[in-house]
């Protein structure tokens, strides 16, 4: 029997607003514990939550770009449960009549595009943060920080249409890219700006009957999601092949041990008793508002990539990498304003620039070689002022000093020698010094040509224009024959 997984993902993304979703407290990360709360987000009786306009605008942006249908009217609901991170004992979320439904995100898998359909996108508030320190000062108690309570989240739920752990990984990467392009989420997983839960069941290949699903939580990296799904797929397959049953349950992923452990829950099956929140009026979205937001949507990753292929003649691979982030794409487009060879420029950025960014673990905006400086250096190669080999050396100095290529070549005397007379003289000297090799060459040992080129380059410290060296050398040696 051959099985395949059926996967659905729920992603919670923190919306990049200044203030919380229903009150004016700051959403700033890393502030002093419990310094960003008020009676609204700590759930004091008698307070009135009021929805943040920017949260709605961000959600409209995502809905438009995923082709999700925005509800003319959506409502907020209370999801009731007791847990110490939730001071109100309910989370304001959306249940019936969510913000929008349907839509899709395209991923590139197995050489083609695959559409991942979305079930819905809705808005909700985050809960507080619990800490379980082992120290003595709190006597083993749990500490609560309510700063995160009421931070706006957008939840994006896919249909169960993902058919491999790797597809799940690709989907998450694309979703994050989109959220960051739209500037509605910073995509920072370490700070919890993006969180993912995964549902997985398995079925026989070709079958249409869905199996019993399990849910995996505590997934804090995209690779972690992929690994956890691979683990759970194998586990479920093992159970079925052994004739055992899969129990619907929630598992917690342990990224250190690479195993998923069933979550022990004293409560019986969750009963959230959702009902419309009487404190919040329904949210109304009209065409005019949608049109206004539409005009603010930037060029999206896929469009940008296709444009890069068409406009600059880049390969699919290079275009994909350069459009990973808007900032990197901008860097490329700025660079090629100063040089002519777009493909060479793209290769330089992908190999040389990204290598340094990865080594230093920095973003392109923190890179000290400006796009103008890189473009100008590439232009110097194109014009034969420096050789490709010397360019690498120049570039290294540029990354160390932040200076321009012109400055460095001048300081270090690295400008390529294109002067025919000077090269010709050097060749004469080299031929004179290597008389025996010249004789051997004339005798037919033509392989020695490379040796002479090497000697000329050595004599000029690699600065001679190799093309001119080759031409001149061949001319001179031929005349000796």
């Amino acid at each position: 029997m051959e099985f395949e997984p059926v996967i659905g993902l729920e992603v919670h993304a923190q919306l990049k607003t200044d203030s919380k979703i229903f009150c004016s407290c700051s959403t700033r990360f890393g502030s002093e514990p419990n310094s960003q709360t008020c009676p609204v987000c700590t759930g004091m009786p008698g307070v009135l939550p009021v929805l943040n306009t920017r949260v709605v605008e961000f959600a409209i942006k995502l809905a438009i770009t995923t082709g999700s249908k925005i509800a003319k009217k959506s409502i907020f609901a209370r999801k009731n449960y007791f847990y110490p991170d939730l001071p109100k004992a309910y989370q304001i979320s959306q249940y019936e009549e969510p913000f929008c439904s349907g839509g899709h995100i395209e991923i590139q898998a197995n050489g083609g595009w695959k559409i991942i359909n979305l079930t819905r996108i809705h808005l909700e508030e985050d809960a507080g943060k619990l800490l379980h320190p082992e120290d003595n000062d709190t006597h083993g108690k749990t500490k609560i920080d309510f700063n995160r309570c009421g931070v706006p989240l957008i939840e994006i739920v896919t249909e169960p249409v993902i058919t491999s752990p790797n597809e799940a990984y690709l989907y998450l990467t694309k979703l994050k890219q989109l959220l960051v392009y739209l500037e509605i989420c910073d995509g920072n997983m370490e700070e919890g700006s993006l969180r993912c839960d995964a549902n997985i069941s398995i079925m026989e290949k070709g079958s249409e009957k869905l199996g019993v699903k399990t849910e995996i939580k505590n997934l804090n990296s995209f690779r972690g999601v992929e690994k956890a799904l691979e683990y759970e797929f194998e586990r479920q397959k093992g159970l079925i092949l052994n004739g055992e049953k899969i129990i619907q349950e929630t598992l917690l992923w342990d990224a250190n041990k690479n195993i998923a452990i069933p979550m022990r829950s004293k409560e019986e099956a969750h009963d959230y008793r959702y009902f419309p929140d009487p404190d919040l009026v329904p949210l109304w979205i009209d065409e005019k508002w949608i049109d206004k937001i539409k005009s603010q949507i930037p060029e999206l990753p896929k469009d940008k990539k296709l444009r890069f292929i068409k406009q600059y003649g880049l390969s699919d691979y290079n275009a994909e990498i350069l459009t990973t982030t808007k900032e990197l794409a901008n860097y490329f487009e700025e660079t090629v304003k100063y040089c002519k060879d777009f493909i060479k420029a793209s290769n330089w950025i992908i190999t040389e620039v990204l290598k340094i960014l990865n080594e230093k673990k920095i973003e392109i905006n923190d890179f000290n070689v400006s796009s103008k400086n890189l473009g100008t250096m590439l232009k110097m190669i194109e014009d034969g002022i420096i050789s490709g080999k010397i360019a690498k050396e120049v570039f290294e100095y540029m990354t160390l000093t932040g200076k321009s290529a012109e400055e460095i070549t001048k300081e270090k005397g690295l400008i390529q020698i294109t002067d025919l007379e000077q090269i010709s003289k050097t060749i004469d000297v080299v031929l004179k010094q290597n008389h025996n090799e010249v004789l051997a060459y004339i005798d037919g040992k033509e392989k020695l040509f490379g040796f002479f080129v090497g000697q000329v380059m050595k004599a000029t410290k690699g600065k001679a224009n190799p093309k001119i060296v080759n031409e001149e050398l061949r001319k001179k040696l031929n005349s000796l024959k």
Partner: protein
């Protein structure tokens, strides 16, 4: 319609409330009286009526994304029965 003692027990549990048996019986009776009273609404045909979620509709109530000062930590922690300088403390909960 109506609720059974078993359901009332479950509702109490979800609300983290505990009752004696005679209280449960009493509340079951009272809850059923309330439900019966509300049941009168079913006499009206609402087939083509949109649900009304709020009396103030339509019309958005929104605020701008502006940060205003939060309460001081001292003020917020005042309500916590057990606390440290920075945190509210509760019995250890481990997921």
């Amino acid at each position: 319609m109506g609720v059974s003692i078993k359901e009332v027990k479950k509702i109490a549990k979800l609300a983290k409330l505990e009752f004696k048996d005679e209280e449960l019986e009493k509340f079951t009776l009272q809850m059923n009286e309330i439900l019966d009273y509300m049941e009168q609404l079913s006499e009206i045909n609402t087939d083509n009526v949109e649900p009304l979620y709020h009396v103030i509709e339509p019309g958005n109530v929104l605020r701008n994304d502006e940060v205003k000062p939060s309460y001081s930590r001292e003020e917020i922690l005042k309500n916590a029965p057990v606390k440290s300088d920075e945190f509210i403390l509760v019995p250890r909960v481990i997921e």
